[in-house]
Amino acid sequence: MKTFNTSLFFCICFLFFVGLASAADNDTITVNYEVQAINELNIDGASVTLTVNAATAGAQPNQVTTSSTYDITTNCAADAKKLTAAINSDMPANVTLTLNLTAPTNGTSQGDVTISSTPADVVTAIDAVAEANINMTFKLDATVSAGVVASASKTLTLTLTDS
């Protein structure tokens, strides 16, 4: 009987402490976040002006250049985006507008690109990046065959698009 009572005591103690040890309960909070595609582009400065008005005797008129900057933010995958450039209408005959965009980090600049009304790649292989004040250079050339060209305005459109 003594052995039985001792066993009973330990059995009860075991059940009691097992009961206490398992005194746990839980509940949950679900946390979700969504990251949407971000593709933002901005050209700094509302306009640039290029005037061809000088030449060295015996040579074509001097090329003129001017610079601006652009800003880009994208969370795209590696090499997933590119920048194209186009103007709203083609340049007059024998007048050439060239654009050279410095690439953002890890992108690839296409160097000097002649700009027309047909979009042309100016930067390719763009990764996720957030950079501001990246240089862009405009160059204007006119041969003597262009003659005197009246002042005109073109609207340049830079587009961040899928590669």
């Binding site: 949950t28 976040y33 933010t73 969370n75």
Partner: protein
């Protein structure tokens, strides 16, 4: 005859249960003891969803997204109930279980309010500073007695444009432990 009844009382008789039967009923009674049963319970109300898009850029094109997003102060509330009283001490542990989580981002939480005591003399302490939630249980806050409407505030950090577009989710698990 008197002597007969004295012996009967000491060693059992027709009116006494066998030891094994007594033990059985004792265990049943023990299991019905409110102290034993009242291990306590935790109930959470609320969840949190956050959307990051171009509106979250710090300064438009060329800038990054904000790195930190914080929920309203009482995005979720916690009820601790079914404790045995103000002296019944407990703690709440926290961990998370990811469904799809970007490794650049971290989740924090904190206790944003004391809530209201469900027992006179019930206490609550700890957890008022942001704690990074990991996959391993950590002590979040502790107390005693019932406690209702304890505010929980959540915070997400580590965002940049390097976090690829997509939907990410985790489950925060709060575990009540009767101490």
């Amino acid at each position: 005859m008197n002597g007969y009844y004295e012996v009967d009382i000491k060693h059992g008789g027709k009116g006494r249960l066998k030891p094994a039967t007594r033990a059985f009923f004792f265990i049943i009674l023990l299991s019905l003891n409110p102290l034993y049963l009242s291990a306590g319970s935790i109930d959470i109300t609320g969840s949190w969803s956050e959307t990051i898009n171009a509106n979250d850029l710090i300064a438009g094109a060329g800038s990054n997204v904000n790195s930190t997003y914080t929920s309203p102060a009482e995005q979720a509330t916690v009820d601790i109930t079914l404790t045995s009283g103000a002296l019944d001490e407990w703690r709440v542990d926290v961990k998370k279980s990811d469904s799809n989580w970007h490794s650049n981002t971290q989740l924090y939480l904190r206790r944003s309010s004391d809530g209201t005591p469900g027992h006179i003399g019930a206490t609550i302490s700890g957890g008022t500073s942001y704690l990074e939630v990991t996959d391993i249980d950590q002590v979040f806050f502790s107390g005693s007695g019932d406690r209702l409407n304890v505010g929980i505030q959540l915070r997400l950090t580590g965002f940049s444009i390097q976090v690829a577009p997509g939907n990410y989710s985790t489950t925060v698990i709060l575990t009540f432990i009767d101490t």
